[in-house]
């Protein structure tokens, strides 16, 4: 609290640029220890906008003008808020406070450690057990006679950044593991990431060997031999170095580098060429700039997109995944993946390969498991990469952004293959940065254990699971053949497009635009309403004829929540979200729904459909239709003959 210089400023103009807002709203700005809150003056809407301090990536103060002083808040999920404060002093205070608040220096300042929703200790414990990695390993069929759990790293003895429980080839003894670990950068020895039951091939991960120009290590060679042997169907393994070959060679001068094919029997080395974190950081900045352009012409946009190189990098990562998936599924050859330290590009390549290989990882739960395994447990440096604390800006890089975008690009090519929708990926993205939950805090499992995060914070996954309805892709049905098997995406450059949902918010809401998936959700919603109405009508008929009708009830298999009512964060106080007062009213009304008689459920239906009106005017018109035809009951689907 000591950093807040002024807790409240009145008559502030706010412009949410990412929403394409053109006219500023006037309201009051409040600063708390964790959030900035803006509450509209307009008594009808009283819209609230909450921004978590840890989501703010930069605060910029523009030169003072006669109208007041301006602040520009850029968020880590690329939303931009423009604030106009009338008094310069107030502005300075807000600026200084935000500057400090948005850069916490200690973990204890983070929101997840003070966030205390109303649940008891057992529930909290349960929330952490929601994702069980061992169950996932069991699902893919390990331990078995090829892969066994190893106790070598219990107490994080030989590798601090690895999880305590890892799977290694059965033939690898603990001395081999220890020796191999000594020969690998930061002790990250080869361990199992994914086991493909169909071909018995495996995806393993590690860090670069400390080979230098001529160094070799017998244990490490034996370790790779063991990895190969644990796949009975093949006589060699692929070693995928995800770095560009030049970078890998440069590393040799520093006593690191890559495996020498002469020393290791039966390996095939393959370089992929994913650039390092610094290149990615700059590239993302460029694509964010493209997304922020107010009125990009075709030329600006296409050139900007190409010059950012972002899609090229995404393609490289997807290519890595495709290579691994092909080797594992088609050739039945195990793959060992590494980059420099084996926690950035390796995580990307392994998890993309898993998504391609296993339909389970294309479900909501599966995606959670995958991130928990390949990223959280294997020591991806979340706190450094996503600047949870004020630290070295050179460590920051959008590594998981790229993974999420790869999944998004895949979902564009295979719209029916994923159980989740874009919103889910965006939500994960926001949570990775927000520190609202403890899941992504810290840089490795050991650090998390030391911080006792399981006792002091909550896990994000149950929270996301609760909002499952909002994250469901209406096209997905698990039993369909399109959703099963290995995905084989096309990675020619024209297949990649800019992820507008993340980088380009501007035209999303003006004028109302609706994605086809939203449309489908709306259709589903509609069918649900039809079903309800059907029930009402049946009751009416039963009442009129005095005879109960015994038609079977139509079953709508899956229900989705209110489509329009997407809020990004969990319950308040959330990462940030906006609650129009209208929604609160509607929620209240929704509870009454059961009590309303079937005959006069006008308003009820209207409110049900009404939330679509912000997205599509056509849906809004449907809501009005009952009044227009005046036949006494609402008709959400009037005869289509009017339209043509």
């Amino acid at each position: 609290m000591e950093h807040i210089r002024t807790p409240k400023v009145e008559n502030v103009h706010l412009l949410d640029r990412s929403k394409g807002q053109r006219k500023a709203t006037v309201g009051t700005l409040y600063l708390s220890a964790t959030h900035s809150m803006f509450i509209e003056n307009n008594p009808e809407t009283r819209k609230e906008t909450w921004v978590l301090h840890s989501m703010v990536s930069s605060v910029e103060r523009l030169p003072t003008t006669p109208a007041g002083s301006q602040l520009i808040l850029r968020c880590k999920d690329f939303r931009i808020f423009q604030l106009l404060v009338q008094q310069e002093k107030d502005c300075l205070d807000v600026y200084a406070s935000l500057l400090r608040l948005s850069r916490p220096e200690k973990y204890s300042e983070l929101y997840c450690l003070s966030f205390n929703p109303n649940i008891n200790k057992e529930e909290r414990q349960e929330s952490w057990n929601f994702i069980d990695l061992m169950a996932d390993y069991k699902r893919m069929g390990v331990p078995n006679n090829l892969w066994v759990p190893s106790a070598a790293n219990s107490q994080y003895r030989i590798c601090e950044t690895y999880p305590s429980e890892v799977f290694i080839p059965k033939s690898a003894t603990s001395s081999i593991v220890t020796g191999s670990s000594r020969f690998r950068s930061r002790g990250r020895f080869p361990a199992l990431s994914y086991f493909h039951q169909d071909t018995l091939a495996a995806v393993c991960r590690c860090s670069q060997p400390l080979s230098g120009f001529s160094g070799r290590c017998q244990e490490d060679e034996m370790m790779l031999q063991a990895v190969m042997k644990s796949n009975p169907g093949s006589t060699y393994i692929y070693v995928v170095d995800t770095r560009p070959k030049l970078n890998a060679m440069a590393n040799r001068a520093a006593g690191k580098g890559y495996e020498n094919e002469d020393h290791y029997g039966n390996i095939k080395l393959h370089f992929i060429g994913i650039e390092n974190i610094h290149v990615m950081r700059n590239s993302q900045q460029k694509i964010v700039d493209v997304g922020e352009m107010r009125t990009p012409s075709m030329t600006d946009f296409l050139w900007g997109l190409e010059n950012s190189g972002w899609l090229k990098h995404i393609k490289a990562i997807l290519d890595a995944g495709v290579f691994i998936a092909k080797a594992v599924a088609d050739e039945g050859v195990s793959v060992l993946v590494h980059c420099s330290d084996g926690w950035d590009r390796t995580a990307q390549a392994c998890s993309v390969a898993s998504v391609l290989l296993d339909p389970f990882y294309r479900t909501i739960k599966g995606m959670m498991v995958l991130i928990e395994r390949d990223w959280v447990s294997f020591g991806h440096k979340f706190s450094h990469r996503y600047a949870h604390l004020d630290g070295d800006p050179k460590e920051v890089s959008p590594v998981i952004d790229q993974f999420l975008e790869c999944v998004w690009q895949l979902s564009q090519q295979f719209p029916c293959a994923f159980e989740f929708n874009e919103e889910f990926l965006v939500a994960i993205h926001a949570h990775v940065y927000s520190c609202h939950f403890g899941t992504f805090l810290g840089n490795c499992q050991k650090e998390r254990n030391d911080m006792r995060l399981r006792e002091r914070s909550h896990s994000v996954w149950p929270q996301l699971w609760k909002d499952k309805a909002d994250f469901t892709n209406p096209l997905y049905k698990a039993e369909l053949s399109q959703c099963q098997g290995v995905l084989r995406p096309n990675t020619t450059p024209y297949c990649f497009k800019m992820w507008k949902g993340l980088y380009n918010h501007t035209e999303r809401s003006t004028p109302p635009c609706q994605s086809p998936a939203d449309f489908l959700s709306a259709v589903r919603e509609e069918s649900q309403q039809l079903e309800e109405e059907l029930a009402n009508q049946q009751e009416r008929i039963a009442a009129l004829t005095g005879k109960p009708l015994t038609w079977e009830k139509v079953q709508v298999k899956r229900r989705t929540g209110n489509v329009g009512q997407r809020h990004r964060g969990p319950d308040p106080p959330g990462t940030y979200y906006a609650v129009p007062a209208e929604r609160k009213r509607r929620d209240a009304k929704g509870e009454e729904r059961a009590l309303v008689l079937p005959l006069d459920n006008h308003s009820d239906l209207e409110s049900g459909v009404g939330d679509l009106s912000s997205r599509s005017s056509s849906a809004g018109e449907e809501g009005q239709d009952p009044h227009a035809d005046g036949r006494g009951w609402p008709s959400p689907l009037p005869d289509s003959s009017n339209s043509s």
Partner: protein, 744 residues
């Protein structure tokens, strides 16, 4: 007829007489049922056949391979899959099957042998046996056939050469050979002459059609004039023109001379609310002597039935010229198909900038922008918006029809759209023949303006798919048909030409048997879809879920919004004309530029000649300019009559991949075999909704006549699943879901 040795094969130039003989000879062949299983058109000649051929399926078709038999007839390259159902004997002929390519739409034939690729021309010889045959089409399809080892070498060589020889007409500009091959037989002619036209769409050919359109739009104050009945006033305009009731035909006749090619301002469409009219006209003819009355008459036309406000929208400088469009399209083709002969492709990291360099998306955007400006202006009410283009035959077609697609839900239905194309393109005199350049003999005029229009419509479609009744598959089919020189709609430059052809055809025909022969039927219209495609494909032309109906315009809405419109109209002094160009309104000093100008009429006071004076500062009655500008910017989201305005920022426009990238054969993998037994989730969803809807209708009927027991039993819904299967179709679904705009 064709001879060839095993490995080297030289095609002799075939004389016309041999061809003749071949045609007659196999004309008799065609009478007996074809043993090979190809459902032939009446009189169609099968030239060659190759067995055990596999066709590569595109992503849209489900990827993978399909094996069957390949045919080359004088009209098309046909492929019949092994397990294709037997064609019914009495079925109506369909020009193109699902896997067929018309010879006229082939652009290049390439064969792939071991380690080499070769472009095959009519004169080239082959020194190897091809393994793959790739047909690059003008409509940007790439069709690839793979020859199995079991295909006899001779068959492979022969069919390759036959295709290479026949796909190009012997003489440039000769498209009639192709037409004859398809439609020339007696049976086919008979069949065509018995064909009924689609009565549900408006063909805009007769005076009654135009009356119907006026009535539909509620355009009071306009009438249909037959002053151009014999194309004496203007050769390129249609027979019937919609003009204000106030203007007499005698007055009208005097105006024609003042416009380029006699294309006077004429009515196109009226906004259902507020009643703004959309007009089109060509540029003024400056050096013609004119009388004072002419000006008055012109004004009467421009101000139309009601208004005293007219905005002339100039289409000249902001929109691409036809040569621009041609160049852009050529570049786009090169980008999407790759340079076929050198097989050089654009390097991966240059894809976006190369796309940018084609300018195609820029042009699409320019057209959409202009049209959305027009659509916004039309919303204003009580005024006329007149589109002016020098020739009034290219971009004004694009803009006026796009504006109508945006404003008029009727035009977003399939039949409405067809009527629109008929009105604004076919009868309005777009130079289809010249622009399409079917005979490859007139490259100067060639410009795919119509394809640009289709692309614009697709952009709108992809942004608001649920507001259209037709699907993108329909647009695609239209796109492909525009490449076939078979349809009367696309084979003439004007209505006059079209009419002449039908008249002359009978006279030119020389009976072979000496007996009196019926006159040739006119070529079919492109809208005769069942002639071109099978039922399955046609079923995909409409969206599975019809667009949400718009509320009927009732009195309340009108009163509310009209107020603003009238206010607009009242603001300005009667008889004001504004010129709208490059986003700026200006008021020309005199309405027609020739008022008091070069022709030397002294009576007219205004002494500005030649061009409009662009003086938007302190011009007379410029006080209503802000009103108009507000109209352009206003974004009435709650307005139920709000036009469908496209999003125009760079990221929002995409490449029509389903069309331009159909030929992407280098796609990496063939992931899933097409699954016949599983319906697409979208279809299931659609079925669900349909089922519910039916039951609802049934139940509503029930509850209205609640005591009527008969109704209860009669309409008790029984919903057999297969009833819906007819509506469900594979292939559609992918388009809905992947329609999100490409990033570039």
């Amino acid at each position: 007829m064709l001879t060839g040795s095993k490995s080297t094969f030289k095609v002799r130039q075939m004389g016309a007489d041999i061809k003749e003989r071949m045609l007659t000879q196999s004309g008799s062949n065609a009478r007996r049922p074809d043993v090979s299983g190809l459902p032939c058109l009446p009189g169609e000649v099968v030239l060659r056949r190759a067995v055990m051929v596999r066709k590569k399926l595109t992503a849209r078709e489900g990827r993978g391979w399909l094996s069957g038999t390949l045919f080359c007839t004088a009209f098309r390259v046909a492929f019949v899959p092994q397990d294709a159902p037997k064609p019914q004997d009495d079925a109506d002929p369909v020009l193109l099957g699902d896997h067929d390519v018309a010879l006229a739409s082939i652009e290049k034939v390439v064969v792939v042998g071991p380690n080499r690729t070769k472009l095959v021309t009519p004169n080239s010889s082959l020194k190897f046996t091809p393994e793959e045959l790739v047909l690059y089409c003008r409509d940007l399809r790439v069709v690839c056939f793979l020859f199995d080892r079991l295909t006899p070498d001779a068959q492979v060589l022969e069919i390759t050469h036959t295709i290479a020889k026949t796909y190009q007409p012997v003489r440039a500009g000769c498209v009639s050979a192709f037409q004859n091959a398809a439609l020339g037989s007696v049976e086919m002619k008979q069949f065509l002459s018995n064909r009924q036209r689609d009565a549900h769409m408006n063909w805009h050919e007769s005076a009654a059609d135009w009356e119907r359109e006026l009535e539909r739009c509620g355009a009071t104050g306009w009438r249909v004039s037959s002053v151009n009945d014999r194309f004496e006033m203007s050769t390129s305009l249609p027979r019937y023109l919609a003009v204000p009731q106030k203007v007499l035909d005698t007055e009208l006749k005097k105006i024609f001379a003042h416009f380029h090619d006699g294309r006077i301002p004429r009515w196109c469409w009226r906004h259902p609310r507020g009643g703004s009219d959309l007009l089109r006209m060509a540029g003024f003819q400056n050096n013609i002597y004119h009388e004072k009355d002419d000006i008055r008459n012109l004004e009467t036309i421009l101000f139309g039935g009601h208004g005293n406000l007219c905005v002339v929208v100039e289409l000249g400088d902001e929109l691409p010229s036809p040569p621009d469009v041609q160049l852009a399209h050529a570049r786009l083709r090169a980008l999407c198909l790759g340079d076929i002969s050198t097989s050089a492709t654009v390097p991966d990291d240059k894809w976006l900038s190369t796309l940018e360099a084609t300018c195609w998306l820029d042009y699409t955007r320019a057209c959409l922008k202009k049209a959305s400006e027009v659509a916004r202006l039309l919303r204003g009410g009580g005024m006329t918006v007149a589109l002016q283009e020098a020739e009034d035959r290219d971009m004004s077609c694009v803009v006026s029809s796009l504006a109508q697609v945006m404003c008029d839900p009727h035009c977003r239905g399939r039949r409405g759209f067809q009527s629109l194309v008929q009105k604004e393109w076919v009868t309005a005199g777009h130079r289809f023949r010249g622009r399409a350049n079917y005979g490859r003999d007139n490259p100067k005029e060639e410009a795919p303006v119509f394809l640009l229009f289709l692309d614009c419509v697709w952009q709108l479609w992809s942004q608001y798919p649920w507001r259209f009744q037709f699907s993108d598959d329909f647009l695609l089919a239209l796109h492909d048909s525009a490449h076939l020189p078979l349809f009367s709609s696309f084979l003439a430059n004007s209505q006059r030409e079209r009419c002449r052809r039908t008249q002359n055809a009978g006279q030119c025909y020389t009976p072979v048997n000496g007996g009196p022969e019926p006159a040739d039927p006119p070529l079919p219209s492109v809208w005769d879809w069942s002639l071109q495609y099978g039922q399955r494909r046609q079923a995909g032309f409409t969206q599975p879920v019809p667009p949400a109906p718009r509320p009927l315009l009732n009195g309340n809405l009108n009163a509310q919004t009209d107020a603003r419109g009238h206010q607009q109209a009242n603001e300005c002094t009667p008889g004001t004309v504004f010129l709208f160009s490059r986003g700026i309104f200006s008021s020309p000093a005199g309405l027609p530029p020739w008022r008091g100008g070069t022709a030397g009429v002294t009576a007219a006071a205004a002494s500005i000649s030649g061009v409009y004076r662009k003086s938007h500062r302190r011009a007379p009655s410029s006080e209503s300019v802000p009103g108009l500008e507000r109209l352009l910017k206003a974004d009435a989201q709650r307005d139920p009559c709000r036009p469908l305005l496209p999003l125009l920022l760079g990221p929002c426009l995409g490449l029509w991949r389903e069309c331009y990238h159909r030929g992407a054969l280098h796609a990496q993998a063939f992931s899933h075999p097409p699954s016949g037994e599983h319906a697409h989730p979208l279809e299931l969803l659609v079925r669900e909704v349909r089922g519910l809807r039916r039951r609802l209708v049934a139940e509503r009927r029930l509850s209205q006549g609640g005591d009527d027991r008969d109704a209860v039993t009669a309409s008790a819904p029984s919903l057999p699943a297969d009833e819906h299967l007819a509506d469900a179709r594979p292939g559609r679904s992918a388009s809905i879901t992947s329609s999100d705009g490409d990033g570039g």
